[in-house]
Symmetry: C2
Subunit: 396 residues, 2 copies
Amino acid sequence: MISDSIKELVEKSSVIRAMFEEGASLAKKYGPEHVYDFSLGNPNVEAPASVNESIKNILDSEKSTHIHGYMNNAGFPAVREKIAESLNKKYATTFSQDNIIMSVGAAGGMNSILKAILDPGDEVVVFAPFFGEYTSYVSNFGGKLVTVPPNPPEFKPDAEALSKVLTKKTKAVIINNPNNPTGVVYSEDDIKRLCVVLSDKAKEYGTDIALISDEPYRELVYDGGEVPFLTKYYPDTFICYSYSKSLSLPGERIGYIVIPDEMSESEKVRSAVTVATRILGFVNAPSLMQLAVAENVDAEVNVAAYDKNRKALYDGLTGLGFECVKPEGAFYLFLKSPIDDDKTFCDMAKNENILLVPGSAFGCSGYVRIAYCVAYETIINSMEGFKKLASTFGLS
Amino acid sequence: MISDSIKELVEKSSVIRAMFEEGASLAKKYGPEHVYDFSLGNPNVEAPASVNESIKNILDSEKSTHIHGYMNNAGFPAVREKIAESLNKKYATTFSQDNIIMSVGAAGGMNSILKAILDPGDEVVVFAPFFGEYTSYVSNFGGKLVTVPPNPPEFKPDAEALSKVLTKKTKAVIINNPNNPTGVVYSEDDIKRLCVVLSDKAKEYGTDIALISDEPYRELVYDGGEVPFLTKYYPDTFICYSYSKSLSLPGERIGYIVIPDEMSESEKVRSAVTVATRILGFVNAPSLMQLAVAENVDAEVNVAAYDKNRKALYDGLTGLGFECVKPEGAFYLFLKSPIDDDKTFCDMAKNENILLVPGSAFGCSGYVRIAYCVAYETIINSMEGFKKLASTFGLS
């Protein structure tokens, strides 16, 4: 019954699912407090209380047919206007509601964008390590994923390496800042270097190369760091935003896309992305959640909790002799595996009830991802297991 | 910047958007009470009060990280279990949560199914007239839409005509019951005849032919009519359900898919559809709405209001000499255009401030669709305009 094209994806997927199931089975066997599940980026920090208050207020004050009804496929105009105004205030931009399309999370937004711009055979460039789902998103529309090799130990985007992989067929470059899985934040200088390469190559080839910026972790930065707002640096920029992490609403599938006026054929692109949102079956971003996030454009989750976790994890692991770049954003730490085979290292960690994701799932073997959006105690209590692993490999 | 493949879709889409914009502009010019907009299937009946109550209760009683968090891509197990139990009670089926996958509306569900089963070049059969979006959904995955010609004046599905279009490449047949745009309900006998043809042809070709039943209007039936539950009649049945109409939640994008144990390779299919839900960027159905609909499996919207509209519209129009099949379900009436050119008839109706959708948008020219999910007064007050049209064509 199932298609040839999905068979392989199901096989791959069941490897990860097997890991989750093993996590659940370990929790049952040893008790959840003795299992250190760092595998999934599912925030443990609560949504701001104002989100639930807004939902209740909306239910009490607006008409049901408005709250739960269809609107323009791009989203409620008033919601888009509020988001535009909020971005303008934060980043000194000049967006209107026309520049904003509400999306079913960043994943939905990225699929709508790729549907709107990709023809079969077009190339989409990513920097390894990268969020593994990009591979599927690009292949959904017949695109070909092209990888810029990992750039350890700092994992900054390498502009020169980028220039080597761009071709006449390059339709888009995806960046993810702050980065999943490394926790690295690309600085203004990093971005400027990338944008020069993109502009030069697009000019040389006489093509449009889109920069797609996947930004669910925009607000999760530490030590006063700043995430450059990309439409200022490169006109052909799409921003895919999600409230999954910034408001801890990952299950609600709510986010937005920014398409600036400066983009080539901006109006056509906005129509195309709106149509794509409809015909891919999203239709529109969930209506009540659109109204709720519009009331919470300035709300914040407890970033300090993630920061506390970050410090405990980084200090703990480096103190044991492990190597990693210090995370500056998101809630991931990308640890160098003491052995080349990251999958074997993950298996060994599992013996200590520690669940990690192999770097090879992100196109970067020899590393493992630790998602620290967990209880602080989980980090502290996992250290005994990490200590055993460190000692096994003679790190400490 | 935009892809060749989406250009044509944007062109087509802007024709419909132009109609909506014209509606808004007419409303501004003449006042909304003098514009009779029958174009969109956006329910004017409120969601049951219990839905909003459930949302508030859930927000007050459950943890934020549960309400708004990630869960299995197939949806919350407890929600799926409640839906399975409710179906079992209503239709004497034996589903468990494993047979249910929560989806981003029926549109999202159908895309996940088609991703899971279609390889490029596979054929998908629809009965004209049909919901125009099916064309896009099928082409999203390289499928080829094959149409069974319209069967006026009753618009019942013609099993013999179906048997003529099935080939070795037929992967699926989509039916929509109660039907958009005709309002016709397929009876048990209609369904049995279709299923015999499907079984015979699948056997003859040695293939699997899926029956995909799009059922957002399942509960909207009149005069005590019944909608057969298809998994009883044909094992390779997918049911795509949505709460858009049954609970008036179209903007929330919440529905589910049923995949029975009896389906060929059922377990593999369920894995594939779950993976498809993730990689298409839906990830999961919106979490709070999943929890809310589970509390409202037996809630009902005010179907009597639609029924009142149906009678007023049917009696009014046939009294004026117009011809149509009497709608038995959904909230659409499919009117025979007094002239062959349905688009010209829609333009003439627009001159009376009456907005209709040409049947050619549903693969059936010579007819127009009237969506009667509007205020009762809209129907009554539109009759003057319809009377003028009837008189123009010498109907009355």
